[in-house]
Amino acid sequence: MDNLTWTGSLGTVLNPALTAAAALFAIAVVLQIATLFVVEPFRAQTLPDGRLSRRGGVLGLIERAPQYLLWALILIVLGYLVGGMVAPYGVAGILGAISKQLTPVWIALAATFVVSIAYKRKLGLYGKLFDSTVGMIGFGIVMFWVYTAFFSSVGGMIATHDPLSQVSGLKNKLPGTAVPDAADFAVGAHYLLGGDNLARDVFSRMVLGSWEVVKIAPLATMFAFMVGITLGVPAGYYGGKLDTVLSFLANLILAFPVILLFYLLVTPEIVLTGIPSYMAAVLFVFPVLFALVFLNARFRTDPKKRNLIVAVVIGAMAWAYLSLISQPGTVMSFLPGAVDLFNIPPGILVVFVSVVFVNSPTVFRIVRGLTLDLSTRDYVAAAQTRGEGPWYIMLWEILPNARGPLIVDFCLRIGYTTILLGTLGFFGLGLPPESPDWGSTINEGRKLLSIYPHPALPPALALLSLVLGLNLLADGLREESLRD
């Protein structure tokens, strides 16, 4: 069977167009930046009929050309993707086949965007995101990976091969190589992005690797925020000894080089001692504590209602907490199997716990700083005069007003957590070596990097794009939340 080329027969038309557009775009951008240093910026004048004037002539062309060329580039790239999706398998080459595999993702993305833009005025901060181009691009990239992760793992759709199965003869083969004994020219007949050092499909591993990140990073960041908020708000509000002690502890953890901490915490030996289970028991109690104080502060004046709400919510959370930390075969094994809701593999637990542990001091410092600033505001003084309790003021007056910077930091921190997970994989810590997560795949691919770069490059670019998407999303959110 034939191997696939990158763009197939679709490329005969689109490749020259893409090259031309890209070259022109590069020239136009350089020209434009060069003119910025020489020519005074143009100030738009309002014409008598209410329109704005714009610069004409060569300078005007230089100013606008990059924009047009960028649109041309985007259209050509869209042509590759749509062409690949519509054309039969193999006609549009590797890119087309990948685009075809990703069809459910494209549909989900399009649906998300159409619905969100249609109702953006009713959706609060999330809706405002769709007023900012940067925010939309970031959101698009992030959702692309979320959908990819979801459809490939839960839906079992996108990946073309099993991430662990090895096909002999495809070791380190280049992208587009045909599988030797494939029956017909259809999905699964090629290793779309080549084979790795153990003859496994690079594309399927990269796609499934996204699930490892998507299931750990946001949750770990959320726990880190719970720990940081529960400790940071009182530290900033009360100050004094509490603040000194907590800040010292936070600085102590921050003074550790992250990689040394990982090497000390994320080893099979440490898992044997049960330290991750103890740390999990401590770190995971914070969301329960937070919910308890949060609800109690709100409904304290109405004991009947308070008792009901607190009993239901805390009961459910405590159950989840107990089944989370109880794990047969480790030091913490106390719940009988019938009551134990779920179990986390110890390899993932230790990764999760250490990532939460590394992130929480930074969140603590941010929350503490915000609280210090906000507690001098008038509405806090007003609440104090009304006789509200300190926890009500902290959690219902100060915390909601700190949400803007916290949401932005949350997005950035998911990106940072993704980088940390990659670092762990890069050093071969925590997750099992055959795991398809991006860090481990990069680690495996780097050994033969100068001869066969293709196994390491896709996960590296995937990680880069996800973190970039999160950073852009954070930037868009910051812009929009500053606007009001």
């Binding site: 090497y263 980088i419 990097l449 001869i451 973190v467």
Partner: protein, 348 residues
């Protein structure tokens, strides 16, 4: 000011003590000691042999006593082993028992003995650190000026196309961790697959002799990740200065834009980035570990990985001491420097 520095030094010492104690406890956990015994002695030792190996070398005593010995406040052990050999903590090769000092801890200037490298920790730390210092020096030399230039150019006309382009570029670099940019650089500039082969994919030869060929990629890889962050901070500071009253006054007086940027805005805009640059040191330390592993450059970060992988207790403690001092003294310098640069701030 003197009191402030003194108090900060107190905090540094306290942090270093707590941190090394945590490292000590973690490395002295039972499974870690077992790993140490098996890598040092023999991988196929029975449990009993592991026990005697560790017991003869004093590993089974209380952690606090062992820590005291390492610190140098308790006398080093003298153990008559069950195998008939007497072992001394403070005995070094080429030394007789009579000349041996009673205390040999970090307070006496003895950093201990590395079980992996079979050499004094202090010697390894000095040689490896000097290698890493070369890398860090070049990184700083590349990163700081270019980040400042990018930040100033982007911040001098907020919202312009130049600003948008440079800001996007900075965001991209902050989203590229070292192990991603390193892989991309090696693929593009060093692999036979692309065929550019401009630079070397390994920096091992840079340890004796730094050349453009073998040191460009590691330096660029570390510099890139920090560059975007510093550039964004510089941009933020620059845009803030450019909207200040005195800049408007200068503009109304008819000072040219170039002179406003260079003579009026620049000095005030560079105060904030100074703090950021100093606080980048701890991050650089992380980047250095990744880059040294990726490019096989045997510096401080590489030593950390080797020591941690083999549970080399005293080497790890030495590494922790050095890194905690680097982190905390740069913080101190950034605080003090900020006061000198910004006369509006006084430390009381």
């Amino acid at each position: 000011m003197g009191l402030f520095v003194l108090r900060r030094f107190g905090v540094i010492i306290l942090t270093a003590l707590s941190l090394t104690f945590i490292v000590f406890i973690l490395t002295n956990l039972e499974p870690n000691l077992e790993k140490l015994a098996k890598t040092q002695g023999n991988a196929r030792m029975t449990d009993e042999q592991v026990f005697t190996w560790l017991d003869n070398r004093g590993y089974y005593r209380a952690d606090i006593i062992k820590y005291g010995e390492w610190l140098g406040v308790l006398p080093g052990y003298v153990i008559d082993g069950s195998d008939g050999e007497t072992r001394y903590r403070c005995l070094r090769p080429g030394m007789t028992v009579d000349e041996m000092p009673r205390f040999c801890g970090i307070l006496q200037g003895d950093w201990g003995f590395s079980t992996v490298f079979k050499e004094d920790v202090s010697v390894i730390v000095v040689t490896r650190l000097s290698q890493t210092a070369k890398l860090m020096g070049w990184v700083m030399l590349v990163m700081v000026p270019s980040a400042l230039v990018i930040g100033v150019l982007a911040g001098m006309r907020e919202g312009s196309k130049l600003d948008r382009t440079l800001s996007t570029a900075s965001i991209v670099t902050t989203a590229t961790p070292e192990y991603v940019s390193g892989v991309i650089f090696i693929t593009v500039f060093a692999s036979s697959a692309v065929g550019l082969k401009w630079f070397n994919g390994s920096a091992t030869s840079a340890m004796e002799d730094i050349t453009f060929l073998n040191f460009t990629l590691p330096v660029l890889t570390v510099a890139l990740y920090g560059m975007g962050y510093i550039a964004r901070m510089t941009r933020a500071s620059m845009t803030e200065v450019m909207t200040a009253q005195y800049i408007r006054t200068a503009r109304l007086k008819g000072v040219s834009f170039r002179n406003i940027v260079i003579k009026h805005a620049l000095r005030n805009a560079l105060i904030a980035p100074f703090t950021v640059i100093m606080l980048q040191f701890p991050w650089l330390l992380n980047g250095v570990v990744i880059v040294e592993t990726l490019f096989n450059f045997k510096g401080f970060g590489w030593t950390l990985v080797q020591a941690a992988g083999n549970n080399d207790i005293e080497m790890l403690l030495g590494v922790s001491v050095v890194s905690v001092f680097v982190v905390l003294t740069t913080q101190l310098i950034s605080d003090i420097g900020y006061v000198f640069l910004n006369p509006r701030i006084r430390i009381s």
